[in-house]
Symmetry: C2
Subunit: 381 residues, 2 copies
């Protein structure tokens, strides 16, 4: 298949590109280095300096013989994205081209506006470019479990049947997110669902929980192929932050009561899920939505796991509650369904003690690269 990956330089984009290439697909990645730019501007650089996208593709080619086409362009500029889709004629577009940091999106007007415009414009553009130039192409869109927020009822996979005054209707599951970033994804969903209905696009929306992990099978080939590993308050997801804190001896920072429950996924399973979705595309006129995580934890449970494993291997891991920098429920009901990807054949990598130990041991090799000033929250809302 011909695969176009938008945001192909990112934490998920780059491992996905390598995976698809090694599976024999023709892969093109596009990125405008927005993540690298914001990382520099906010002192949120990843643990290891990654070669730029063209260098990554070149190293990958040297080591494997496989070729990934690289285009440096901005998906929020219609003419650029449109020309690429017209020329490349992808069978699948995987859309990761969004500013994904919740804290960044809440920092101030500039950051909110950048997030809002980048994310909405990229989504609008990919919809229209596909409609105009590759209408049968399957769009795989990364959504987020954060779109649902933390409702007091079970979270279904994208849709809900509502019984009301003796009648019933199926709707998109109501979404109510906790940051502007997550809210842009809610808007994406509304927009995509409209155009799926009207123009018969075929779309899979993967509602992903927080991702963790340093590497994938493909990235293990060479350290220069590792995805970005962020452990800062801007781009670092909670598990990755805890792992680094355990290593440098900063207490694991639990926000507030620590009862926040989310569904987590190993980065290896992200790649696997996208592959499964690509192998069995949505129908024309279908918005297929699947919740992309493998297990649910509270933040306290995560902290306890990392602490237990860290202490077992000789680290001195403490846990400390911080005043919550975010407006969010700290104790809440949470029960999210996630059977769709299992039914497609997902074989989960769960967060066992062995997996946590493996990540800690690998990160210990890079201890000297850790900047402890990046760890505590700098944005509140």
């Amino acid at each position: 298949m011909r695969v176009l990956i938008l945001g192909g330089d990112g934490y998920l984009g780059w491992p996905t590109a390598m995976h698809m290439s090694l599976r024999g697909h023709e892969v093109c990645v596009v990125d405008n280095y927005l993540r690298r730019k914001i990382s520099r501007e906010t002192s949120s650089e990843p643990l290891l300096k990654a070669p730029d996208l063209e260098e990554r593709a070149s190293i990958f080619n040297e080591l494997t013989g496989y070729y990934i086409k690289v285009v440096i362009a901005d998906c929020s500029i219609y003419e650029d994205l449109s020309a690429l889709i017209k020329e490349w004629q992808p069978d699948t577009v995987i859309h990761y081209a969004e500013q994904p940091s919740a804290p960044y999106s809440m920092f101030g007007l500039h950051e909110a506006r950048l997030t809002f415009k980048n994310n909405l414009d990229s989504t609008f553009n990919v919809i229209w470019a596909i409609k105009e130039h590759a209408p049968d192409c399957h769009l795989i869109k990364l959504g987020t479990m954060g779109e649902y927020g933390t409702p007091n009822i079970d979270i279904e996979e994208g849709w809900i049947d509502i019984q009301h005054n003796g009648r019933s209707e199926k709707f998109l599951y109501p979404r109510q997110a906790g940051s502007l970033y997550h809210t842009t994804k809610v808007l994406d969903t509304d927009l995509i669902w409209f155009y799926v209905r009207v123009y018969g696009l075929r779309v899979t929306d993967l509602m992903q929980g927080p991702v963790y992990g340093l590497s994938t099978n493909e990235a293990n080939i060479d350290d220069r192929l590792l995805p970005f590993f962020h452990y800062d308050d801007i781009f670092g997801t909670v598990v990755n932050r805890f792992l680094i804190q355990a290593i440098v001896g900063i207490p694991l920072t639990v926000y507030g009561e620590g009862g926040q429950t989310r569904g987590y996924i190993n980065i290896k399973d992200t790649v696997q899920c996208v592959d499964l979705a690509m192998s069995k595309p949505a129908e024309s006129g279908e918005l297929r939505i699947m919740n992309q995580f493998t297990e649910q934890f509270t933040v306290n449970e995560l902290a306890n796991r990392v602490s237990r494993v860290g202490n077992k291997i000789g680290l001195n891991v403490q846990i400390q509650s911080l005043k919550n920098p975010r407006k969010e429920a700290e104790e809440h009901y949470y029960n999210a369904k996630h059977s769709g990807l299992m039914e497609l054949g997902l074989e989960p990598h769960y967060m066992t003690d062995e997996v946590i130990e493996g990540m800690l041991r690998k990160l210990l090799n890079y201890k000297s690269s850790i900047d402890v000033n990046k760890i505590l929250p700098r944005v509140t809302w």
Copy 2:
């Protein structure tokens, strides 16, 4: 009160401005003449050529002694809107500054992009300008009943209590609209609700049904103060189109089966509703949503009414079904609640035979200005 009206040149904006001014409020209107520009570009000019906004305000001042401040600016440019809100310090902002034509938004890429950017950027900007410079200001946002679409269950006023697997939660009522224009309003709602929760803004969202009517009490002072009256397929709402068709002897164009049901409102009541919402503002941190219409009809019922009244006064009115140019349900359940504005004191002007006759008789005076080439649908989706 100090009132800022965004989109103050429009069908609803201008009558609202006059009304608020005559009620003793300090009124500032802002507009970028986008509607006039699109009207020219699409041959959708209104029945009567309206003086420009500064002339309108000047005529209004001569005739009444009341002063309306006019600013020609684009609300989709943050710096301009922000400076205005900072300087004017409104108690209430009434946000009509959106591209409101469903057919225009469905015409092609250019029109879709203009609608998407204009509407979303204006809403984003007004939220941020209020947050930064007038955080206690009450935002009155014009939504649309079209956000709800035509679900198979009762339409509530903005919110719904969902029972699911033995638990319950209150959500924004699920929205699923029939055009990109209406979808931009869905996105507006999601965005506003997020910022209301996080920053404690006070917002009233008026979910308005199709508006009809030529004039309001204030506009009756002088024909030069009349709001735009569109009868074309781009900006003309269905009742206004039927009235004009009755006058020129073109059969009333019912799209498809004609079972499409909507909630309608007289333009006099739009002004009244906005006044009521302004007098009793939403609380800080509240998104108050009210459905703004007074009575429900099918398109067939509307056609029959206009036809009956037209024939009674000597016109020869026929009704003709056209192949539906839109993707929409032509027979569907529809039961929308609308008690909120009644509880605030709305005294409706219903669409009686006398009201229809009055509109027809007034329009007969302008029969020679009607361009019959503007009436049939030019956009399909």
